[in-house]
């Protein structure tokens, strides 16, 4: 779960990482008051989860409280993207921007700290063109972050020595504490500012909490801003993996890998996908809810593909038939349901008037043909 900048910075501040003074606001009048408090000169930052906010014009510098108010009004009025909260932050007088992040290294089974003396908006370009400029330090979670590793990171940031070095070391140590405490998949400060007087301040904050650990991370909840569409938000609340597209074929499949493959096959055949929905695993008895979500799409055909062992074919077939009877979809349904108790599944589908198929690629071709105006 991605946190908003203001949430990440709250977590950073609680761990002792210096962040700029700021106020979270939801309307232009609050923004003006906040800017006044901060002395007028401030930054207005849209609290959205997409990257590249600066380049997208979602972060604006205001010279006065009045300007902050006007910029806030314009950002909150954005139509391309849902923006409900703004962070009004003191403008930091920085002389350098460096990069610091902690994520997971699946190969080593360790935390991976990445640090670069060149931070800011072009870090991805740097990673692609001069990866040697980004130092990588692997931390064994059981042993914890070692003093020599903190030193190595501070050297890589180019901040060793003096008061700045001490502050930078504390930031590294504290960011690691945030990473551990919050069960983070990613904890990132980019840019980490070095101010004119040599202080170190987190200019931005990114914190992604591991979804498997959310139950022990109180205080965060998914909001509409975490998703690209209303249906994705709705599906997520039900625990059903769902992605919105804008094509013709609604996928209601079991298993992430299989659904992804069906997605590929549709594209190969020149078809297009309306949505990706995966109702395997723990959701395999929830065909009705799955179909409800699929039918929110303006799709031309509903394609059901499963090949389960634990997710029994007969149960899923019954679920599909039941859902069909209750929801009475106006679009044709193509089923390719195989696996455990396949014979019973086939009988159930036939009895409901469907023509069960048994080959995924044939089923996909049929779905694409139907969309193109062919017969069912």
């Amino acid at each position: 779960m991605k946190l908003f900048e203001y949430q990440a910075k709250e977590a950073f501040a609680a761990a002792g990482i210096p962040v700029p003074k700021s106020r979270l606001v939801t309307d232009p009048a609050q923004a003006r008051a906040a800017a006044d408090e901060l002395g007028g000169h401030c930054v207005v930052k849209a609290q959205v989860l997409t990257g590249g906010r600066g380049k997208a014009g979602l972060i604006k510098l205001a010279g006065s409280a009045a300007e902050a108010e006007a910029l806030s009004a314009s950002l909150l009025g954005e139509t391309r993207q849902i923006i409900t909260r703004l962070l009004i932050e003191e403008a930091v007088d920085f002389k350098r921007e460096v990069y610091l992040s902690i994520t997971v290294d699946a190969v080593a089974g360790k935390a991976l700290i990445m640090a670069s003396a060149d931070g800011g908006v072009d870090i991805e370009h740097l990673a692609a063109t001069a990866p040697e400029k980004i130092a990588r330090v692997l931390v064994d979670l059981d042993q914890g972050l070692q003093a020599f590793q903190i030193k190595n990171v501070v050297f890589a940031l180019g901040l060793a020595g003096g008061e700045t070095g001490k502050q930078a070391a504390a930031v590294v140590k504290n960011l690691y504490a945030v990473f551990r405490k919050h069960d983070a998949e990613l904890a990132e400060i980019n840019p980490l500012f070095v101010t004119a007087d040599g202080s170190v301040v987190a200019g931005d904050g990114k914190l992604i909490i591991d979804d498997n650990s959310l139950s022990r991370q109180a205080g965060y909840e998914l909001t509409r801003e975490h998703f690209d569409s209303d249906t994705e938000f709705e599906a997520a609340q039900d625990g059903i993996p769902y992605l919105q597209f804008d094509g013709d074929i609604s996928l209601m499949c079991a298993g992430a890998g299989l659904t992804t493959t069906v997605f590929d096959l549709i594209n190969y055949e020149g078809g297009s996908v309306a949505n990706y929905l995966e109702f395997g695993g723990p959701n395999y008895r929830r065909a009705k809810r799955a179909m409800e979500l699929c039918l929110k799409n303006d799709c031309k055909v509903l394609l059901v593909v499963t090949f389960g062992t634990i997710a029994r074919a007969d149960v899923m077939a019954e679920g599909v038939v039941e859902a069909m009877n209750e929801l009475k979809p106006r679009v044709p349904i193509i089923t390719c349901i195989r696996g455990t108790n396949e014979e019973e599944a086939t009988a159930t589908l036939r009895k409901a008037g469907l023509e069960p198929m048994f080959d995924t690629e044939e089923a996909v071709r049929k779905a694409v043909a139907l969309c193109a105006g062919g017969k069912s």
Binding site: G109, A111, R180, S213, C253, F263, D264, G308, T309
Partner: protein, 294 residues
């Protein structure tokens, strides 16, 4: 021939008395697996269909030899259960739980590496040596999917694996051992670490790898082939070749990012290394036939 699990292995089951544990223990035994004891704290002295239960692995191995641990343990207790098995010197551990906290996955992976153990999972259906034995959650031998034979299969997926192995069987082959490394972001064992088992097994003539976008396991396999560490024919199927970048398609393992992780990059590296790469599942069979000259 089989790798990882045969009828010779002595398997202990952690969490055997639970609903899932007892259900799948029965299936494993039905499919040939040699279950020696189960572990559930507080239930020492009980049995499940005649298999004795102990409080702990240390108590169990005082009475019975065991070389393999099968876990039916909820995700939040998985790390503890894996550590218990590693601590007892068990070198083969399979854990099916989905939803292990990410940082605990790192700790499990690291601990397994330190112990020289091969832990499969999490979030896997398990391992089957077709017609011989099974660890995990396979209810029975589905003939069109798990026919015994000479093809090793390694996979990150569940249903997709059935889709692909059905094509292997349709092409006239069968499986030696199918190893599910699991669909998590941090598989405890990586594809490239499974390869040596197949390389050493005279009963495995070729390997099918069922991969997908995200992570770097398929790239590592390509490198192992290019470096000559794996010399048998390998046919790969990579899901997600048309997936839009940045969208999460299903499980956490499938996040495309960085230089590695795109399906396109994986396909290119594998082809360059000389592996067969199927664009569709139906191409896997013909590519195998071609590679094996049959």
């Amino acid at each position: 021939m089989s790798v990882y699990i045969t009828r010779e292995n002595k398997v202990l089951i952690q969490g055997m008395t639970g609903q899932e544990g007892s259900y799948w223990t029965r299936h494993m035994r039905d499919l040939g697996t040699n279950v020696v004891f189960g572990v559930t704290p507080g239930k020492e002295g009980q049995d499940v269909d005649g298999v004795p239960v102990f409080h702990s692995i240390v108590n169990g191995i005082k009475a019975f030899e065991a070389d393999t641990a099968m876990l039916f343990v909820p995700p939040k207790f998985t790390k503890d259960a894996v550590f218990e098995a590693l601590d007892a010197g068990i070198k083969k551990i399979v854990t099916v739980a989905e939803g292990v906290p990410l940082q605990e996955m790192l700790q499990i992976r690291k601990a397994a590496l330190s112990c020289g153990a091969m832990v499969l999972g999490g979030n896997t259906s398990g391992v089957i040596s077709a017609g011989e034995a099974m660890l995990g959650m396979f209810p029975y031998w589905i003939d069109r999917v798990y026919k015994p034979g000479t093809i090793g299969v390694m996979t990150r997926s569940g249903s997709l694996t059935n889709e692909v192995t059905a094509e292997v069987v349709k092409a006239g082959f069968g499986l030696s051992t199918l190893i599910g490394v699991g669909g998590d972001q941090v598989p405890f064992t990586r594809f490239v670490e499974v390869l040596p088992l197949y390389q050493a097994d005279p009963g495995t003539k070729a390997v099918v790898m069922v991969g997908e976008l995200g992570g770097s396991m398929e790239e590592e396999v390509a490198e192992a082939i290019a470096a000559g560490f794996f010399t048998k024919p390998l046919v790969a199927f990579i899901g997600g070749r048309t997936a839009p970048e940045g969208k999460r398609m299903g499980h956490a393992g499938a996040i495309a990012g960085g230089g590695r992780g795109t399906a396109k990059g994986k396909v290119e590296l594998l082809e360059k290394a000389g592996a067969g790469v199927a664009k569709r599942p139906s191409e896997v069979g013909p590519l195998l036939r071609q590679a094996l000259g049959t």
